[in-house]
């Protein structure tokens, strides 16, 4: 952790802001969902913000991200605007996919977000293809694929990891192990250790405290550098936790305890990072408060924008089945 203390201030503040963006937006998602303004399904990443912020701080705009159903944070951290995201969540034509995709199917190639998929594990083969294209193009970039603990038991996970390893592709696999796949705890479903699952394919694995953004930053910087040097994939398992249930409608007390939730909340990545920034004189309390206010204002403004935006006209219903 020695180098991380020398991490430039602006990088650290940027990660802080990214975590806040994710936190405030997904808190807003829970609120809007409960009011019936967001329909269907959405999966908040509350509690997991350090993973997206820490990994993506290492990426340039030209590096790419493939995400999953719990992907609002990945997109926001990569640069998708709050407006584009909230409009999409409300199904408006100003959304990043014109309202056609919703929470779980999003894309913004200008920001390097290839696709968030709702199929658990489905992003892994896609990320392999993206990495294949990067390698064929001889580009100096990499792709990061985010998925959860549930995905590690899919066939797609194993097929994708093997393929990435045998072709030495520039992809970093990041597992956000939040301990549960819907209601199923990893202790009941997942044999062995997730971060060791790549070893069978010659893929180095790293277990990381996903509640510490600097730990995530450090581990992913090593993996991303490896990928960009052409040395192939890495599997990073970030131990983290989601404060909501699988969706925004409950907090999962059917299968876990309040005591467990509180235990993880005491390790919340945001206040602990604030304390670190202040104690190391990297920022003042007022400065951090200023960032908080700014992010909250942007989220509120984005909600207004999304609510006042129009839905896509119904006559456009069949417009995007075929590409021209």
């Amino acid at each position: 952790m020695r180098e991380m203390n020398n991490l430039p201030r602006d990088v650290q503040l940027s990660m802080y802001e990214n975590m806040l963006k994710q936190r405030f937006l997904d808190e807003k998602v829970v609120e809007l969902y409960k009011k019936g303004l967001i329909q269907g399904i959405a999966h908040p990443c509350l509690g997991q913000e350090a993973v997206a912020a820490g990994v993506i701080a290492n990426l340039s705009r030209e590096d790419l991200v493939v995400s999953n159903h719990r992907g609002h944070g990945h997109s926001l951290a990569k640069g998708v605007s709050e407006r584009a995201m909230l409009s999409e969540l409300l199904g408006k034509e100003t959304g990043m996919c014109r309202g056609f995709g919703g929470s779980m199917h999003s894309s913004d190639m200008d920001c390097g977000v290839v696709f968030s998929t709702a199929i658990v594990g489905g992003g892994i083969p896609l990320a392999v293809g993206v990495a294949l294209a990067l390698k064929m193009d001889k580009k100096p970039n990499c792709v990061v694929c985010f998925f959860g603990d549930g995905a590690c038991n899919t066939g797609a996970f194993h097929e994708g990891l093997n393929m990435a390893a045998v072709w030495r592709l520039p992809v970093v696999f990041v597992c956000e192990n939040n301990q549960y796949a819907v209601s199923t705890p990893i202790t009941k479903s997942t044999a062995g250790h997730i971060y060791l699952r790549g070893e069978g394919y010659g893929i180095p694995g790293q277990l990381v405290n996903g509640m510490k953004v600097l730990d995530v930053y450090e581990a992913s910087s090593i993996a991303i550098a490896r990928a960009k040097r052409g040395e192939g994939p890495t599997l990073i398992e970030c131990e983290t936790y989601r404060y909501t249930g699988h969706g925004p409608y409950d907090i999962g007390l059917d299968y876990r305890t309040q005591e467990e939730i509180d235990r993880w909340k005491s390790r919340d990545p945001i206040p602990s990072f604030e304390q670190k920034l202040i104690s190391q004189n990297l920022a003042t309390t007022q400065e951090l408060q200023g960032i908080r206010d700014q992010v909250r204002r942007r989220v509120e403004e984005a909600v207004q924008f999304a609510q006042s935006s129009a839905y896509p006209p119904t006559k456009q219903l069949s417009d995007h089945v075929w590409a021209k």
């Binding site: 489905g122 990320a127 393929m163 995007h320």
Partner: protein, 322 residues
């Protein structure tokens, strides 16, 4: 088979973004030799031998297509398409739509069905109707070398996912192929044989069977019009309807299982579009049974010339008595 190889080579020469990916497609040339010679000309970076991971093959092809490439993936047997259902149906076919038209995924998936080769139930099935029921993927079913070449070139140059289903039994068949560049538009059926009494819409291997049936029937004074749709999505109903308006009778002929097969859709659409003009409809198809192995069972299982002849004759007899 040569026509498919020619189409691949021509398109790979024309566009450096076109690449082939699949199992055993490189040095081995593909299980059916469709890619023979390609790795020698284009190198292993453009003719990629893949691990045995159909779902990942299609997923990787999709990811590469998002990045601007034009992959032509080979799935060895149509039955194995079930291995990649998730990437094919949940991702490839819907990505353009889910992203509000932003992402394009020009992936061509070449596959073949082996009904007729005694390969058994897991290596014989022809089920393009499954894909007709999921919007977002075009389906081509060529029956001649010329159609195969023209359709494959069009598929590769297009902007949409295409499932290109070849009949393995037809690989050895011969036919005239035009010299030089030629493309065949999707959604354009071909009247393989003109006739006046019954419209026969035949798919893939059944096109030849229908033409053979036409020869038998003409000696009995019955004239059938054989239409080869060539693509099932998009489906050229204009040609089919205009034929049915002429004949008043429709027979569909396919290697699919009858229930919910291609014929079911063709007949439903024809009824919707030409209700007052149709007197009789029948489907010739495999029975609702998996493909048996034992050769005489397989032969009895497969629809063919005789089934078409019998169906048409019965139809004409019904016509006479009504």
């Amino acid at each position: 088979m040569e026509s498919i190889r020619e189409a691949l080579a021509e398109e790979m020469r024309r566009d450096p973004k076109v690449f082939v990916i699949g199992e055993d497609v490189g040095q081995y040339g593909g299980t059916f030799k469709a890619t023979k010679g390609l790795v020698q000309e284009f190198g292993p970076e453009r003719v990629i031998d893949s691990p045995l991971s159909e779902n990942a093959i299609i997923g990787a092809a999709t990811g590469a297509a998002i990045m601007g490439y034009r992959p032509v993936a080979e799935i060895m047997y149509m039955d194995f398409l079930n291995e990649c259902s998730d990437q094919l149906i949940n991702h490839l076919s819907k990505l353009h739509f889910m992203t509000g038209g932003k992402l394009k995924v020009p992936v061509v998936i070449r596959t073949q069905y082996s009904l007729g080769r005694n390969t058994g139930a897991q290596h014989s099935q022809f089920f393009p109707a499954f894909l007709m029921n999921t919007p977002g993927i075009m389906v081509a079913v060529p029956s001649t070398p010329a159609d195969a070449k023209g359709l494959l070139k069009t598929a590769i140059r297009g902007s949409n996912p295409v499932l290109f289903v070849e009949s393995a039994v037809l690989y050895a068949s011969k036919g005239e192929v035009p010299e030089g560049e030629f493309l065949i538009h999707f959604g354009k059926a071909d009247v393989k044989l003109e006739g006046s009494d019954v419209t026969v819409v035949a798919v893939s291997r059944m096109v030849k069977e229908a033409i053979a049936a036409a020869n038998v029937l003409s000696s009995e004074g019955i004239s059938i019009e054989v239409i080869d749709p060539r693509t099932l999505i998009p489906l050229d109903m204009e040609t089919i309807v205009s034929s049915v308006k002429k004949t008043g009778r429709l027979v569909t002929a396919e290697d699919c299982v009858k229930t919910a097969g291609v014929g079911a859709e063709v007949i439903a659409r024809t009824m919707e579009l030409a209700m007052g003009h149709i007197e009789d409809v029948q489907r010739v198809a495999s029975p609702d049974v998996p493909a048996p192995f034992s050769p005489p069972l397989q032969d009895a299982y497969m629809p063919g010339k005789n089934a078409i002849v019998e169906t048409v004759k019965k139809m004409m007899r019904r016509s006479l008595t009504s």
